[in-house]
Amino acid sequence: MDASPLRRVSTKHFILIGVGAFLLELWAPPASACTPGSRQLCSRDDCRPAYRECIDASPPYWGPCDCEDPPVVHYTYNGTSCGCITGRWDAPRGSLVLIDSGPGSAIKPIINEIGETYTHEMIVQSADTAAQSDYRGPDTQDDCDHPLEPTSLALGFPGMEKSMNLGAIYADIYGSGSIAFSPGGSAAVIWLLGDPDRANAIADALDQRPAVDVLVHSGEYIHRTIRNGDVSPYGLYQYMNIEGTYLGEGGTSLNNASASSTFCAYAYALGGDPMTSFDYAHDETVNAANAFWQSVYNQCRAGFPWWGIFFGCPSSIGCNHAAAMVLNCMATADCTQNNNFFWQSALTPPDSHASSISPDRLGGLTRFINEVPRPTTWATDTAHWVQWNIAGEVCGCFD
């Protein structure tokens, strides 16, 4: 199998590869809906959050829905306890915060290849909370044919979330001590407001969206936003096809998925008329896909983390499989395939192209500065640097 994304594949190769891929597909493990030992959020009237545990994988069998209410413990260290206060930013309510995560971002090669800059964005709910769709990265598994766990690629966690704590956001943007030793970090963070009425309408709508609380660390919850009656996981396919996400509530997408920029387009529609999606040219779509493949492959080969994960199979073959899975997930929405044939085939027709909404277009920036009418009300504003009243959080210890 030729892994070089730009190599032209002749018809006879297609036939041979197709047969091989079909056989591989037969051997590919099915995506498991229930991994024994894993927990899933469930609802109870008397407590929240509540969880049930997967007892058996096939057929999926879940245990009872049990309350889990971790006791609040004021930890004592050498006779003292410690506490923190989260900082605040000056980005106004309903404004769009745009972040250029620099070369350390997993998706920066895609953004570069379409001639754009910003890689992540969120919407301000208040001076100390925000909403976004984010991805903690796929899970790895001990299988060099399928180094990435397909379900964690297809249904990226956490996806849409709201009422995020600014301490966590600060850490995400400016990086922790360990991130300082990996190549890259945020290069710029700005906000755009535009029409304050529209911005407030967006923030009001986000405030009102229902959410489910999910425990991610001891005592730390995130609030997954409910869209169309269910959580909205992060989906790489949103880069290729935004589907109905930008239409707001009621607009559908595969797996009810969103990405960071398509979430903002969704939220924009909650506050008024939706924006439009944008058709990227075939060549730039192919270039972006190739660069993304190279990025995943190179990070894997170098032994560096990609989207926060370390690959378990850093050989060329294992990395080829990992990169193929990511690209198949993005270009074809099939996250189980480890063969480059599928995404390359999907992008071979000259009319194949991505149709989505990017961070830069939300803000009417870079290649979209001359777009008329402006793509959003945010796009009518000048750029403002985000200011903080403290460097993330301030912490102290007390007797």
Partner: protein, 434 residues
């Protein structure tokens, strides 16, 4: 019986052999395919491609993607592509440099992307594909409104070897510091057990300035750069030297989107930028936050500040127009010349604005050519000192230990997230831990 079995085996072996030969012939690339894939194999660095790409450029000009609602500009023209080394080991840096121009005079919008990385000079790291092939990568040059020209990265040999060590150069922006970048250099050994402790780091920030440090990190400010194009690019270089004089080099391509230039193109507005000192606000015992701000612009005409309007940012994130102006005398000068800055002593009396998180000073002015100039800064109320009653309890014992240690080390009664990161980073350097 034995003879017929032998004949049968020979026959089957012959059939399998013939089948294999036919299969290999079938799979062998045709003459046309060989021509298609051989085009760039023979080039050696440096490579000049301007003439070779004229035909490509013409074709791309005909089908240049149009940004919705905008005029269709001409795509850029690639003048030259240079590759530093003709062969490298897997993972070894190889600098690729590109020169380009536009035919319609819109060079200010040029953006260079080399194999997915931004910048006209990119240290590329390469790895062979599973079949031993060299990856095919693309150089894309973008012009105004996203029109683009592409060319392949010239091929260079990649050997199945790995450098025994490398210097990784990372960077990140600092909060509340416009375009102030913190760089880190980290020596990575292929044999992870080895730990290298360079005695000196020589930094070249790509803007004509250099610095020598004994620690693997440094900050550098790019805020006052010229902004006569959409992007500014710098090739940053770090060289680590150990006590025996051995050195190791790492490079990174650094790109800034010039917000001042962009606002000018997008809205015809001259943006005013401001940097506060101290970087984070401090509340005085009298309940007033005082911060000095340096204010500048990147336009080529003088700007006169005529009005300082006041807004209030509330804790819920809403902003209210206070219907008040501050005296322009807060500024040490109201005219800001190109390349220069003015200063303003701004304050926020937190008792006078109960419930407010910040007082927003909105500067309004006019450039010498009549363009509108705008900018705003927030003087924010810092959070209170944490107490048992007002803080969120820390449940992680390791974090609590870090906080306590940081308070002792820094001699402070409270520490920030940034303080904790700094101590963590310095400890890692001191112990050589990666």
């Amino acid at each position: 019986m034995a003879a017929s079995t032998k004949r049968l085996r020979r026959g089957v072996a012959l059939a399998v052999l013939v089948g294999l030969v036919l299969l290999m012939m079938w799979l062998r690339p045709s003459a046309t395919e060989r021509l298609e894939t051989a085009g760039e194999e023979t080039r050696s660095a440096p490579v000049v491609l301007a003439r070779e790409h004229e035909a490509v450029e013409r074709r791309q000009a005909e089908r240049a993607p149009a940004t919705q609602g905008a005029l269709k500009p001409l795509p850029p023209i690639i003048d030259e592509i240079q590759v530093e080394k003709s062969e490298v080991c897997e993972g070894e840096e190889n600098l690729v440099q590109v020169k380009a121009h536009t035919a319609d005079g819109s060079d200010a919008f040029l953006r260079f992307v080399i194999a997915g990385q931004a910048g006209p000079s990119v240290p590329l790291k390469s790895y062979l594909l599973p079949d031993g092939e060299i990856p095919r990568r693309v150089i894309t040059i973008f012009g105004r409104n996203g029109v683009s020209t592409s060319a392949p990265v010239p091929r260079f040999a990649i050997k199945r070897c790995a450098p025994d060590r490398a210097l990784l150069l990372g960077y990140r922006v600092r909060a509340n510091a416009i375009d102030e970048i913190e760089f880190t250099a980290n020596v990575v050994h292929i044999d992870k057990a080895l730990v290298s402790r360079p005695a000196q780091y020589r930094w070249n920030f790509g803007d004509g300035t250099t610095q020598v440090t004994s620690e693997p990190h440094v900050t550098h400010n790019y805020a006052r750069r010229e902004q006569r194009a959409m992007y500014s690019h710098y090739l940053v270089q770090a060289e680590a030297r150990d006590e025996f004089g051995e050195s190791l080099r790492g490079r990174a391509s650094l790109e800034f989107l010039n917000l001042g230039f962009q606002d000018l193109q997008k809205l015809g507005v001259v943006s005013l930028e401001a940097q506060g000192m101290p970087r984070f606000p401090v509340l005085s015992p009298d309940g007033v936050v005082r911060q000095r701000f340096e204010i500048w612009h990147s336009y080529d005409q003088p700007v006169e500040i005529q009005r300082i309007h006041l807004l209030q940012l509330n804790s819920d994130g809403r902003r209210d127009d206070l219907g008040q102006d501050a005296e322009p005398s807060l500024l040490n000068r109201t005219d800001i010349l190109p390349g220069e800055s003015v200063e303003a002593e701004l304050s926020f009396d937190t008792k006078g604005y109960p419930g407010a998180l910040a007082l927003v000073y909105q500067f309004e002015g006019t450039a010498a050519d009549g363009r509108r100039a705008l900018g705003q800064v927030s003087v924010m109320k810092p959070p209170p000192k944490p107490t048992r009653e007002n803080s969120r309890p820390v449940r992680d014992p390791a974090l609590a230990a870090k906080i306590k240690k940081a308070m002792t080390t820094l001699g402070q009664d409270a520490v920030t997230q940034e303080d904790l990161w700094k101590i963590e980073r310095d400890e890692r350097f001191a112990t050589g831990e990666k």
